[in-house]
């Protein structure tokens, strides 16, 4: 309990870095005319999206609009059938080596955490650095502890995921992804499976991460997060990108009537 309360302290969140927008910087993700089908169902249609280095993107839209599928294509958890996806200069193809290279650079946080239940929190964090990046165990553990410190749960390091609350598990999942030193972080509805009291502790960590300059793509329904953190909001419906704009513009002056309808639905309450 005290943990959560202390996290509400705004001093812990602002660390003085100005939010810069990196417009015109190198592209981290370049999606061009990408299409995907599940069987005969056309899930993603002519997706074009560029994410620059250091940019924070929030992807929103109704359920079934293809948001999750789109970001899962970025690290090849899903395969696209047409168009191209280039991540950090590497084009995603059938080539397993390229897929591995991209996955090494891209961290992902899932809706249901997907921690490994048979390993402790610390083991979860060091597994991939040790086996994939071939780091010495001691070095990996030191970095993992530093990152657990950053997500404010170093005292849970030796527990198993099953002993933690949902919010704590999700923060471990974030730390685990960060242990690989990723250049890009993907968040797939990271707060959707959490109790209301725990959403804030996860969002606080994500805000902190955004402020550190990490390139982030977040699928989320947390509009407050989008307003304060995002450089750009991408709105999707029926497998298409309907509209993308900075949050100030997106929330106050949406161009498409579909966006307007969506915003009126979710902001009503």
């Amino acid at each position: 309990m005290t943990d959560i309360i202390s996290m509400q302290d705004p001093n812990g969140l602002v660390d003085g870095h100005p939010v810069d927008h990196h417009v015109g910087a190198e592209a981290m993700i370049q999606i061009t005319d990408m299409n995907k089908w599940f069987g005969s169902f056309h899930v993603l249609r002519d997706i074009n999206l560029t994410v620059h280095k250091g940019e924070r993107i929030v992807v929103c839209g109704p359920s079934g609009s293809g948001k999750s599928t789109m970001i899962r294509c970025v690290n090849r958890l899903e395969e696209h059938q047409a168009g191209s996806i280039v991540v950090d200069g590497i084009e995603l193809t059938e080539d397993v080596k390229k897929i591995d290279m991209i996955r090494r650079e891209v961290g992902m946080v899932f809706q249901h955490f997907n921690l490994f239940p048979h390993l402790t929190v610390l083991e979860n964090c060091v597994l991939s650095p040790i086996w994939v990046r071939k780091e010495p165990r001691r070095q990996a553990e030191e970095r993992a502890m530093a990152l657990l410190e950053r997500v404010k749960i170093p005292e849970q390091a030796l527990k198993y995921p099953g002993q933690l609350s949902g919010g704590q598990q999700q923060r471990v999942a974030i730390a685990r992804a960060l242990c690989m030193n990723p250049k890009l972080m993907l968040f797939d509805e990271p707060t959707s499976a959490l109790d209301p009291e725990m959403i804030k502790e996860v969002l606080d960590v994500m805000v902190q991460l955004a402020e550190s300059g990490m390139t982030m793509v977040c699928v989320t329904h947390e509009m407050g997060f989008a307003k304060t953190v995002a450089d750009r909001v991408v709105f999707m419906d029926s497998g298409q990108v309907v509209e993308q704009a900075p949050p100030s513009e997106f929330f106050t002056n949406p161009k498409s009537d579909r966006t307007r309808l969506f915003l009126s639905q979710i902001l009503k309450h």
């Binding site: 958890l77 996955r103 992902m108 239940p117 048979h118 099953g162």
Partner: protein, 378 residues
């Protein structure tokens, strides 16, 4: 009590949780157990009475037969004078039950096998054994031990006289068959289970065919094929050991069963685990070895041990191809006219030996399950 209840009237924000209190005495301890399990209803009272009567009817005569009026010491049937069990028979034939026809002066080799087995198995049961010791003993038991034992028992090298496998028998043979069966069937079963879930059609088809073929035939016919039919198909002059043929048959058969048990575990792993492993850059073999298998195997420990226990008992079927395991040795002995009616004693002894090993496996698996439980229910 009264100041704990947040009744109306008081201003807000003074929520205090009620401290936990112990349950009433009727809900804990032996009293509760007797109430709930023995006398909870008239029917249960009746069943309890019948149960007690049956215990009184069966247990005292059994103890009397097996212990009180039994004969323990002596060397021939003449020493069995009382009307209880004739354990003299078991004592006199003990060597045969354990070693079969393994030549007398070479039996120390079998004893070393038993001792090594005990040396690396017993520490696994003791709670105080450090994890590192456990691990290395386990690795020894799965790799070096079968090799050392094979050299030791077969002989023919290092100045050890060769002992042909036809002379192996008794408990020793039972252990050899089941140990090799267990140690070989598990890894082959794992590979078959993974192969059956492979995305590569050829591998999948081969694994499915293998599993369905071996699961579709009774073990007894596998053994019969191995011992009688196989030599007919082999070219002239090529002939390999009957025990080896039986072993291969048992391993193939049991690995097919093992594969299906393990596949059950693999299917219980949520898709998210595969995705998380992939997203962290782990390839197929690392994800399988570090993430998927540890969880899947843990989930199916009861099924795996069940298969092991079945395997252990199924080894007695080698009797039909002329190998004398412990049950075979007992059966061969009880027909000896020099001993009167000792069939019950012989079978009880054989059953007891099987029970000790099977119960041991069962206990070990339960201990393992407790140890691996990490508070995660999913």
């Amino acid at each position: 009590m009264a100041e704990m209840t947040p009744t109306g009237g008081a201003p807000a924000d003074s929520f205090r949780p009620i401290p936990p209190r112990p349950p009433p005495s009727s809900a804990v301890g032996p009293v509760r157990w007797v109430r709930e399990n023995l006398v909870s209803s008239p029917l249960n009272v009746l069943l309890t009475a019948i149960g007690l009567y049956l215990i009184w009817l069966i247990v005292p005569p059994l103890i009397d037969w097996a212990l009180v009026s039994a004969d323990f010491f002596g060397s021939s049937s003449d020493d069995c004078t009382s009307d209880g069990a004739c354990w003299v028979f078991v004592g006199a034939r003990f060597q045969f039950f354990i070693y079969g026809f393994y030549p007398d002066p070479e039996r120390w080799r079998v004893n070393i096998m038993f001792l090594m087995l005990a040396a690396f198995l017993v520490p696994q049961f003791l709670p105080g054994t450090p994890a590192v010791v456990r691990k290395w003993l386990g690795i020894f038991g799965l790799t070096l031990y079968p090799l050392i034992t094979a050299v030791l028992l077969l002989g023919g090298v290092f100045g050890l006289p060769a002992v042909e496998t036809g002379k192996w028998g008794g408990l020793m043979l039972t252990l050899v068959l089941s140990y090799v069966g267990i140690v070989a069937a598990l890894p082959i079963g794992i590979l078959l289970a993974l192969g059956r879930r492979s995305h590569m059609p050829i591998i999948r088809t081969i694994c499915v065919m293998f599993i369905e073929l071996w699961r579709g035939v009774p073990l007894i016919s596998v053994l019969f094929m191995a011992s009688v039919m196989l030599p007919l198909f082999l070219p002239e002059g090529v002939n390999f050991d009957k025990l080896l043929r039986a072993l291969i048959g048992i391993v193939m058969f049991q690995s097919a069963y093992m594969a299906e048990v393990i596949r059950g575990g693999l299917q219980g792993i949520p898709k998210g685990q595969y995705e998380a492993a992939a997203a962290l850059g782990l390839g197929y073999w690392r994800a399988t070895g570090l993430i998927i298998l540890p969880q899947a195997l843990k989930m199916v420990i009861p099924g795996i041990v069940n298969t092991f226990i079945a395997l252990f008992k199924d080894t007695t079927l080698v009797l039909i191809i002329g190998l004398f395991d412990i049950l075979g040795a007992v059966q061969a002995s009880i027909v000896d006219p020099a001993w009167g009616r000792v069939a019950v004693e012989g079978y009880v002894f054989a059953a007891f030996c099987f029970w000790v090993f099977c119960f041991g496996m069962s206990q070990y698996s339960q201990g393992l399950e407790r140890k691996l439980h990490t508070g995660h229910k999913r």
